[in-house]
Amino acid sequence: MLAEKVKKIGFFILFSFIFVFFSQSVAQAISYETLGGRPAYPDPNIKNSSSWFIYNLSPGETKEDGVLVVNNSNKIKTVFIYPADGVVGSSGGFALKQLADKQTEVGTWLTLYPNNPPDFFIDIFQKKKENKITYLCQTSIADLEKDMQEYGFLEKKKHINQNQQELLKEWCKGNKLVKLKLKPQERVIVPFIFKVPQNVDVGEHIGGILIQKVDDNKNINVGGSAVKLTIRIGVRIYETVPGKVVKKLKLEKFSVKKNFKEFDLSRYFFAYWIGKGNPKPEEYIVSSTIKNEGNVSIEHQDIIHIQNLIFKTKKENIERQFQVLRGSKFDSNYGWHNPRFGWYSFQKEIKYKDSNNQVHTLFTDKIKIWIIPWREIVLAIIILIIVYLGYKIWKYRQKKKYGGEGWIKYEIKEGDNINNLAEKYQIKWKVLAKTNKLKPPYTLKTGQTILVPSLNKEEAEKNNNTENEDNVITENNLEKKNKKEKIKLFFQNNKWWIIIIIFILIGIVFIYYLNKNNKAEIKKEISISSVGGEIINNNTEKKEQYINQEIKNISVNEKEKNNFKKVEIVVLNGGAVPGSAGKMKNILKEYGYENVEAKNALNKNYANITLYYSDDKNEELANLIKKEIVEKYSKKKIIVKKANNQEERQKEIVIIIGQDK
């Protein structure tokens, strides 16, 4: 019984041991040994405010805030903290200036206050719940004294002396650069004041607060010439000065470029032998450049439409979202993993919302590209050549062995058979049979003529000549035969020339398509259609300037004008670039027309812009609209006409936008 109890307890101990052991290994915390920073007091009502400082301050306005600086590592880290201007990276990404660079904008609007104020003022400072720094630095000495006396931090009838005032003044200057030593896992909030100058322009201004690791071992030898790296973490600042916000994007460039060479052997062999790692992927790079002409950052939807033109399969639509900073250009690149063969078209679509929340869409023209599998073609040709050469060599050897060269004619006598003839002429019976193209059972008829090896040279030569004569005679005979055999003979006699010509033609086609593919990248840089901007088409040969449009003098009184604004108008796209009707609709809405819709016309063969009025009473309105829009469409021909058919008569005013003619 004791033994049983000891056994039970033993199992329990074993269980506890396992429990302890595995609990040690299970409880591993997830951590990363880096520095970090973020806003100390994010506003949950503002998106991304937990990661970025997002302000809407007016000129002269001040905001007191703080940045949380974190040391996630298990070592002491020393850091620099400083504000910097925002700049645009090489591909349009967000970037910040360096510590040593001169700050001119947002980098100068921020002042850090890492330390507490002078001891004398600590109590009143901590008494304030918010805007402590602003209070301490902007309150007059007299008011400060009053408050301190009220709270009992300063005896009545006593004053803040000159020295204390100087110390406070010095402290209120703050710091542009702070050096902090952070213990392992320490988190520190560094307060700051953000003040927008009086003379800044409306719109978005970007900058950030940098947390930069101080390099303690600057002189460490890394064994040769090297780039030494320092790590920085930037907490972005987006300050939008209120006022008229302009959001406008312009699509500047669009290209499709092959980023690999068909016959770059190093990709396949040397990359692995030398061990340079994975070779660059083979792909086509679809690139575009977008310019932000507004005064704030704009988020936009970037869609690439790719279609197979041979099989007309469903379009492949690649959607991404990017941000373009104010006044900057954004380059987007997309690596398309291409198939080895096909005919494809590429088109880019950009969508963004303007300040009125209206969606603008920009389209490029389509770029069409042939993808030819040159590598496979050349490989196939090389294989064919090898096979052909192999076949020729084999044929040559066969001919040499079984062709009967130097053999003479022999008439079969009675008693001759293949075996005794083979023995007589010291050859194998199979060679004799194959040379004379004998079929089983290899019976020889008396009087039959076959070829046998010559037993002396002279006879062999004489026989060759006879054979050549025979061949000539044969050829002469063939000339008289039908066309098919003539062609066959032509190819047999000139096959090498034909093969060479084919190779030359393939080479020419290859070089032509090589150049054509390369040119695709610049083909459509400027053929871009836009709803939110101008239509630019340098390939258009006709550039008609409709500067002196005939515009009737329209004078309407206010009441009539108000009535006109309520008229029903429809704008139809009758063959113009996609989005033209929507653009016109927006323009009319800006001019106060309330009932405007945009659609596609049934007929796509309209030319220029035509305003159709259904009733004569609307002719005046049509001319008024023409007068209003002529400025926006100065390069287009605008005509006013009476409606002729149902499509032109569907509303009181129908505007049809057609192709430029």
Partner: protein, 230 residues
């Protein structure tokens, strides 16, 4: 004949010894159990604290994810030349990879590389050459009097998600060269809207090519550059 005899302790004493053994074993078991709980409790509290510290970060780490203390990019040794020549190096190798951390709910960020200042130069203590001269190998109209230009090509680099993180909407930048005052920051990697959050990514294989002026004096040159995430 001798016989061995064993003398057993009295039955009461056996029982007493048994009770002592039992109690000792129970005590040991209890102590070990409590020790196990303690470990779990301590590590649980540590785990939750770490999750709360979400801040965007970038670092150079080795293949095990440990931070590299003095990260650098070594350029292959060259021989003195009367002509211009190029030095090459790779930023982001298996032992020194660029790791971007995003343990936040904001999906957009960018990693870029810049000189420590726009006027920084390669230096061996006595001689210098530039990294951002727009004229390339020769000195242009920038602030210094030396030529030299560095090209950074992240287009062929590889982005790998750590622990299965998706690389969708994470892209490398384009190849570009530094030009003082015009191209001071080259984007290496960026995340656009829709990219994964609470994730980490490694970047390896960024090619650096430094154009070196003709007749550059022999020496061991270094240039300090800043890797920034924002």
């Amino acid at each position: 004949m001798k016989t061995k005899t064993q003398t057993l302790p009295p039955p009461g004493q056996i029982k007493k010894i048994g009770r002592i053994i039992k109690k000792t074993l129970k005590l040991v078991t209890l102590v070990m159990f409590l020790a196990g709980l303690q470990v779990l409790a301590a590590d649980w509290s540590q785990l939750s604290q770490t999750i709360n510290d979400g801040t965007l970060a970038v670092d150079i780490v080795d293949s095990s994810g440990a931070s590299v203390s003095n990260p650098s990019v070594t350029f292959g040794a060259l021989t003195y030349s009367f002509d211009t020549q190029d030095g090459t190096g790779t930023l982001g190798t298996s032992d020194e990879r660029i790791r971007a951390y995003n343990p936040t709910s904001t999906d957009t960020w960018t990693v870029n590389l810049a000189g420590s200042s726009t006027t920084a130069t390669w230096s061996d203590g006595s001689h210098t050459y530039d990294f951002n001269d727009g004229s390339g190998y020769t000195d242009g109209s920038d602030a210094d009097s030396v030529g030299g230009q560095m090209t950074v090509d992240p287009s062929g680099a590889t982005i790998t998600g750590v622990s299965g993180c998706s690389t969708s909407n994470i892209s490398t930048g384009s190849s570009d060269s530094y030009v003082e005052g015009t191209t001071d920051n080259i984007d290496l990697m960026s995340a656009s809207s829709g990219a994964a959050t609470y994730c980490r990514w490694d970047l390896t294989g960024v090619n650096l090519t430094q154009g070196i002026p003709a007749g550059q004096s022999p020496g061991t040159y270094t240039l300090t550059m800043n890797l920034t995430i924002s």
